[in-house]
């Protein structure tokens, strides 16, 4: 071949590869059809995305608004504020009230005030199990509406517990017992998620703190952590019980339902008088290029048919509308209907979302500092305490006193980690890397000293 031919061949190869690359990276993978493309930012996984997309595009809500496709993006939650301005979604779908309130504060969510959307919102009760099912701004306007509900509890692996002669827990307090710590340090009974890595487990810790109060709440959490292996996130935590590594794991309800379906040895339980119902929001974004399309989607999601998608066996979520159970799919899910009724009938605790939000960063990083980072020292102290009690070297009162000393919110320099202090530093904990790092160091060191001091007091 002549040089010219070689150049031409090289050029063709380079252009072809570049074209394929550009096509693959930047051209939507779904066939281009005439009509409106709905853009959705979501925390829901691709299985749910697929089911919702198929059902919605086949519905009259899509055809009446000429919506022919949906472009999804599922970024890590912490990137949402940066992704929304570039991706320009019409709808934000799933992620918890805290995230949605923060997005509204950052000017990324629109007020829901059109006639159509207000009619759709009206189908949802204002409260469910005593919890607000809709989010409002200071002007009392709707900014998000719940599209599904979740409860928080734990999943148990029954054979795991039975084999070791352990009772099936029904209350949070059960997870703090010496029985659950008797196989330490070799075999922790519980799996907990490290708070900064999991929003659902963090919500559980907030529930415990508000149910038991600040000091007693930290004692419950510390004793539970003593009995636990601490995992990076909620999925890792769930898989421990599902695969039989531990007997119990902290769970959001749909993880628990799915685990029970996949592994019949497992069962999801709502702790008696110890949970809340959390709505999972849907909202319009201020960036919406097709506001009507976004409203049509929200409208559809809040119909019984739209709600029945949650009941698919691959999803196992609880709808916010009870009417979903009267659809064809809903009729086949008696198991979930039972859970639905248990959840909404559950006597939830008096939970304050604003209070939880006011110390959320402090809680997350304090948890990591004193329970995750100091876990070796904690388990060393706790297992010695459990062992001393079970061998009758100390009585029940002494056991309780030592445990309370071990688990008390730490004191360092002249500060103690009180609720008021946690609230006062919360913003700085969220915004300053260096402040957060130094606080965590102090807390870890103080916690280790506290665990070691208590351990030294326990009779050998």
């Amino acid at each position: 071949m002549s040089r010219t031919k070689w150049y031409a061949l090289a050029l063709i190869v380079i252009i072809s590869v570049s074209a394929v690359t550009v096509w693959w990276l930047f051209v939507p993978k779904t066939p281009i059809q005439p009509g409106v493309e709905l853009r959705v930012i979501t925390r829901h996984d691709p299985t749910l995305q697929l089911k919702i997309e198929q059902a919605f595009l086949a519905s009259e809500y899509a055809t009446n608004n000429s919506i022919t496709s949906i472009a999804w993006t599922q970024p890590n939650m912490m990137f949402w504020p940066q992704v929304i301005p570039t991706f320009q979604p019409d709808v934000a779908f799933g992620g918890g009230p805290t995230l949605f309130n923060q997005l509204y504060d950052q000017g990324l969510l629109a007020v829901l005030n059109s006639t159509k959307i207000l009619a759709a919102i009206a189908r949802v009760n204002d409260t469910i199990a005593g919890v607000d099912a809709k989010g409002k701004n200071a002007e009392d306007e709707y900014i998000w509406v719940g599209s599904a509900i979740s409860s928080f509890g734990f999943t148990i692996n029954k054979p795991w517990l039975q084999t070791r002669g352990l009772p099936f827990p029904t209350h949070w307090e059960n997870l703090t017992s010496d029985e659950f710590g008797q196989f330490l340090p070799t075999t922790p009974t519980i799996a907990m998620g490290n708070s900064p890595g999991t929003t659902s487990n963090t919500r559980i810790y907030e529930i415990i703190l508000q149910k038991f109060g600040w000091v007693k709440g930290w004692e419950v959490l510390t004793r539970m952590a003593g009995n636990s292996r601490i995992e990076l996130g909620s999925t890792e935590t769930q898989s421990q019980v599902e695969t039989g590594v531990t007997g119990v794991a902290m769970s959001i309800d749909f993880y628990g339902f799915s685990t029970a379906l996949r592994n019949p040895d497992c069962e999801y339980r709502i702790p008696v008088n110890g949970s809340i119902i959390n709505p999972d929001p849907i909202a319009l974004c201020t960036t919406a290029p097709n506001k009507e399309a976004g409203e049509a989607f929200i409208d559809y999601i809040l119909t019984p048919e739209g709600q029945s998608t949650w009941l698919d066996e691959a999803i196992n979520r609880l709808p916010i509308l009870e009417e979903a159970f009267q659809t064809a799919v809903g009729q086949t899910r008696d198991d979930l209907y039972l859970f639905y009724n248990n959840s909404v009938d559950n006597i939830g605790i008096d939970f304050s979302d604003p209070l939880a939000l006011s110390y959320e960063y402090s809680l997350m990083y304090y948890f990591e500092a004193v329970l995750t980072n100091a876990q070796s020292d904690l388990q060393s102290c706790w297992s010695k305490l459990v062992s001393a009690y079970r061998n009758m070297l100390i009585n029940e009162v002494e056991f309780g006193n030592y445990a309370a000393q071990m688990a008390a919110p730490v004191t360092w320099d002249t500060e103690t980690f009180t609720e008021a202090y946690a609230i006062s530093i919360n913003d700085q904990m969220g915004s300053s890397d260096s402040f957060r790092a130094l606080m965590q160091s102090d807390w870890t060191a103080a916690a280790i000293a506290q665990y070691n001091a208590v351990e030294a007091l326990i009779p050998p």
Binding site: P185, E236, Y361
Partner: protein
């Protein structure tokens, strides 16, 4: 003083005197220059000399350069500048900043503030009686026992000790290296120096551990060695041979998993080294009376040492930067206290920005890896490698095996292989286990092919596999273009700074993927120009960044393979073509490419398969947006999220194994068993 000592001292004095005399002469010349010519003229003269140096270098560059070579050189430099140097530089800059101000805050924090990272208290006690009485006890957290026996639960837990994040990473890396090297060198010596039946089969089997990356291997091993794992159910509960439940956790598990993978690497490296020893050297030693262990210790081992050390150091680097094993065992408090894992979990702050502490830890990890890398370069340069890759020049010294050799060799090798196949067995059983069929049973009660169906039908999982194939394919294409160019320039062009270019294209093998990933997050989101179209949060950008990280990180495999190919090709062939009037491009196309095409292809194939199985960069960059997540990221996600997750991850692991077998077999054939192509040494 004996005569020899006196002679030696005298020689030493003479040498010192000579050195002093030279230094004085040098000093005198320098003084003279300033004194004779005056300071102004001297400065001008020196400037002129410097200018002259640069002029000669520029002329050298001009002489060696033509349009084609220029394009090649610029392509290499632009790629590495943009996707390696600037991102790494950004990590280093960020590590030395707090709130936009220059500061040593993070290093002070890591080394002096927080005991979690570094056990500062060791130094505080250096002159104390405690240190002199219990130096080891002080370093080790005395409360944390490496081996715990729990009589109530009848459990023997083997974990390790916590020495703080930095020392943990180093000692885990060192122990992995030590065990891998001991096993690898022993196996290599047997295979290189003894002839016995079944050797060919064993030689092939010894490569099998390389087929399972540590991340996948850890999944298989964890299934066997957990509290209710197959080992305990079979040997403790069913057969009653083992008196307790045996649980491998923490650093012990990490070292075990990594050793089972990396011993193959040290074996290959040592095997090449033993084969390439000039037999006449050993024969000369034998003629002088050396034999047995003395011959091995004084002649064979020193000759093979550069190859063995290079393999060992590479093992250390790969062990320290391995993230896959750590994420599988992250339930252990110990494992969370390692550099790579601590970086992984601390990358993003609540504000969505990269955390300073992650960048500082990244710099420390980088320093550890770089120290190892420069040791490798010291022992084995690219040129040395090229000599190695011509393995087979010598007739290997093979000893016939006697009956007791058979017992020792087979006992040792089969014992090692049996343990080394645990991950493979675990992965294969997991892949075929029906959902819920492998609870508290030694083996799955039901087998199914359904897991394969799910992996290759589920759009989510299949999408990640396609992502990986596309990323790796494009990366391999870039690697061929740029890697071949780089190797050609290093091998054939005498341009100034060639050594630096050689360093630049080789160094990615030692750069921790997680540091590069942080560099991408920082550089491409902050740089005013590149953030416009490559910010990780722009649609499509994560795919580009993952692809480019693969291309840069896995390029050394192709560069080395191509370089070796060029070393084996006579430059006279190219000169002859040039003399006959062929242009540079024509020479490259007509002479060079046909001669080294096989080497390039082999290197590119290995680069492709290593891209497919890359973990650390993938886990960080894949997490930005699920739709761009590559296969290994998806394996991590589903492993942790579903009961059948380990089974689905195992199926994907088998897919990677099959891919690797195909590539290794092909590479083996076309490079005629040049093992160096497999490990990049």
């Amino acid at each position: 003083m004996t005569r020899s000592e006196a002679t030696s001292a005298s020689k030493s004095n003479q040498a010192d005197e000579k050195q002093n005399s030279n230094q004085n002469e040098e000093k005198r010349k320098k003084t003279t220059l300033e004194e004779v010519l005056g300071i102004g003229v001297a400065i001008k003269l020196r400037a002129s000399r410097t200018k002259s140096y640069f002029s000669s270098q520029a002329y050298q560059l001009y002489r060696e350069m033509d349009l084609f070579t220029g394009i090649q050189l610029i392509s290499v430099l632009v790629l590495f500048l943009l996707f390696l140097i600037l991102p790494i530089f950004q990590v280093m800059v960020t590590a030395f900043q707090v709130d936009g101000q220059w500061s040593l805050f993070w290093f002070n924090y890591i080394f002096f503030e927080d005991k979690t990272y570094f056990p500062l208290y060791i130094f505080q006690h250096l002159d104390s009686s405690i240190f002199h009485q219990h130096p080891i006890g002080l370093i080790l957290d005395v409360k944390e026992q490496p081996i715990i026996f729990d009589p109530d639960g009848l459990v023997l837990l083997v974990q390790g000790v916590d020495m703080g994040i930095i020392l943990n990473s180093i000692y885990v890396g060192l122990l992995t290296t030590l065990f891998s090297t001991l096993i690898g060198v022993s196996l290599a010596f047997i295979m290189a120096r003894y002839d016995f039946r079944g050797k060919t089969v064993l030689r092939t089997l010894l490569l099998v551990p390389l087929l399972v990356i540590p991340f996948v291997g850890a999944i298989g091993i964890k299934r066997f060695l957990s509290v209710d794992g197959s080992f305990n159910l079979l040997f403790h509960e069913t057969l009653g041979i083992w008196p307790t439940r045996f649980v491998l956790e923490g650093f012990a598990a990490v070292i075990f998993v990594q050793t089972l993978h990396f011993f193959s690497l040290t074996y290959l490296s040592a095997y090449s080294a033993f084969l390439n020893i000039d037999p006449t050297l050993e024969e000369s030693a034998e003629n002088l009376g050396a034999k047995g262990f003395g011959l091995f210790r004084k002649v064979t081992l020193p000759l093979a040492l550069p190859g063995i050390e290079a393999g060992a150091i590479l093992t250390f680097i790969l062990s320290v930067e391995d993230l896959g094993t750590l994420v599988v065992y992250s339930g252990s408090p110990q494992v969370r206290k390692t550099l790579t894992y601590a970086i992984f979990t601390n990358i993003i702050a609540p504000t969505g920005n990269v955390q300073g502490v992650a960048t500082a830890m990244g710099v420390i990890l980088l320093v550890i890896a770089m120290v190892g890398f420069f040791f490798i370069r010291r022992y084995m340069s690219l040129r040395h490698y090229a000599m190695l890759s011509k393995g087979g020049t010598w007739n290997p010294r093979l000893s016939p095996s006697k009956w007791f050799h058979y017992i020792i060799f087979y006992g040792f090798i089969i014992g090692i292989l049996t343990i080394a196949f645990i991950p493979h067995a675990g992965i294969i059983l997991l892949a075929f286990a029906a959902p819920g069929s492998w609870g508290r049973t030694v083996l799955p009660s039901h087998f199914t092919l359904a897991n394969f169906g799910i992996v290759f039908i589920d759009p989510d999982i299949l999408g990640s596999i396609i992502n990986s194939l596309v990323y790796s394919g494009i990366a391999a294409f870039i690697i061929i273009l740029i890697g071949t160019s780089a190797a050609y320039i290093v091998a054939r062009k005498n341009i100034p700074g060639k050594g630096l270019l050689d360093l630049l294209v080789t160094i990615p093998i030692a750069l921790p993927g997680i540091v590069i990933a942080i560099g991408y997050l920082l550089f491409f989101s902050r740089d005013p120009l590149f953030s416009q179209f490559l910010s990780p949060l722009i649609i499509g950008a994560p795919a580009v960044l993952i692809t480019m990280s693969y291309a840069v990180r896995k390029m050394p495999f192709t560069v080395r393979s191509t370089f070796a190919g060029l070393q084996q090709t006579h430059v006279e062939l190219e000169e002859a073509a040039s003399n006959l009037g062929a242009s540079r491009f024509r020479v490259f196309r007509k002479i060079v490419i046909p001669l080294i095409g096989i080497s390039v292809l082999a290197g590119a194939m290995m680069s492709f398969v290593y891209c497919m199985s890359e973990v650390s960069t993938s886990l960080v960059l894949g997490d930005i947006a699920a739709e761009y997540g590559p296969m290994t990221w998806k394996m991590y996600v589903i492993y942790n999220s579903l009961a059948m997750g380990p089974s689905l991850a195992a199926v994907m692991g088998i897919f990677l194994m099959i891919l690797q077998i195909m590539v290794m077999a092909t590479t083996n054939v076309i490079t005629k068993r040049r093992s160096s192509a497999l490990i990049g040494l």
